[in-house]
Chain length 283, copies 2
Amino acid sequence: MELVTSIPRLRELIRDARRLKLSIGCVPTMGALHCGHGALIERARAECGLAVVTLFVNPIQFDRKDDYEQYARDLEADGAFCRQRGVDVLFAPSEAEMYPHPAATFVDAPGLSDRLCGKFRPGHFRGVATVVAKLFNIVQPDVAYFGEKDAQQLAIIRQMVADLNFPVNIVAVPTVREADGLAVSSRNRRLSEKQRRAAPALFRALCEGRRLIGCGERDASKVKTVIRRVLAAEPAIRLEYAEIVDSHFEPVRHIESDVRIMAAAWIGSTRLIDNLLAPVGER
Amino acid sequence: MELVTSIPRLRELIRDARRLKLSIGCVPTMGALHCGHGALIERARAECGLAVVTLFVNPIQFDRKDDYEQYARDLEADGAFCRQRGVDVLFAPSEAEMYPHPAATFVDAPGLSDRLCGKFRPGHFRGVATVVAKLFNIVQPDVAYFGEKDAQQLAIIRQMVADLNFPVNIVAVPTVREADGLAVSSRNRRLSEKQRRAAPALFRALCEGRRLIGCGERDASKVKTVIRRVLAAEPAIRLEYAEIVDSHFEPVRHIESDVRIMAAAWIGSTRLIDNLLAPVGER
């Protein structure tokens, strides 16, 4: 595995791989790699000739300075993680390499970015779309892998790729969960032991919502009430939002076809998100 | 020359050219081709293995519906123009091919896009940057050619390429002018004979400004006053703005190094723009 920090050097490696007619797979990450990233990397490793992992804690997607500063950084551990999984190139540029000048050109998806998590994290998805566009232009992958845990991010990237004609195939990889259902996330490390015990309530609440929909419930507000009730039983958790959305990530009132239940919640100063696809059942 | 209207077919041709190790040059246009475009095409033809001209009247960059509707369209003439100049591929997609859904993801350069022409054409440069990003992702050129006449557009595209790491080299080609100095533009066709006779006053005014700066004038407002005075002598012309900007396209009050004089003016219902680089002289 080669650890690359410079864009010109990465472009050289990509050129070499193209010459050898290797397909290029890219897994964009912010580091603090865990088995969720592991699932993305394994797919890229299995499906592509050159597996590239990018590691960049992107400042312009953080709406809170403390979250940016607290974000776990351990290049040594992440390097070992990638090496063990057969990654060919770990691209870990500095902030100066990615933003030699303050960012002045942005990729923005106004509608989709302003809803759900976007309502609570202004500028977040603009930062995400912008850095992913940059990484796509640097790595020029044939395929890029993203986790379903960040469902809204995935939808925005899919829309960006379609709208801006990026020649990249987007592959979604299912959310990896702990034994108790908690979606794996680098932010889970910030939870105290007590908070960690409370955290799976978020997944439990979504499961309860999914069960109701599967049983035939069609009124989104009733499903949300049940989700809120499950979470209210766990005083350590403060729900930020729970929403039932259609395939365009538009909130629905009446559930007509398969929907996704999206939620964000706070435990202390840690924000967790999760989502579940909820197929409609027969009433 | 192959006339291509579908994105998948264009991607095939690009793939074939890459296999033959041809460099790819792209000249993005909105058609109504004239000798200004000719200068861009000749550069692309001379410097690249595959010369691609794109022809697309981009609806999302028009701030006025009448301007969009009046925009000259003549695919047959433009096809002949390209064929005569040795163009390999003329890519002329339909609106449905470029925007199968209403545009929902945009490339935006907030600062630079809001000044000068951007102040008077809200959304214009966002539309330009977005369609150029799309064309870059479709054509994947090594080099793209743009005219200096659209200096602010050129600056925004250069900034976009740098900020979003597009692997494209941007080449600026000097403005082509009529014998009387009027910058060649497809909009010149809309001028009546009388308006056409009045139009070169715009260039004359910029020349007068450049002369003053060359003679040592350092006060931008004095230069602008002279520009306004020259244009005031031509009642058919209504100046929209005249501005003296530095290399970052920031308006300056005190002229310290080489600047660019930018102007936009109306003749009847036709809007013309022009600009000139003005090197500083000794006082």
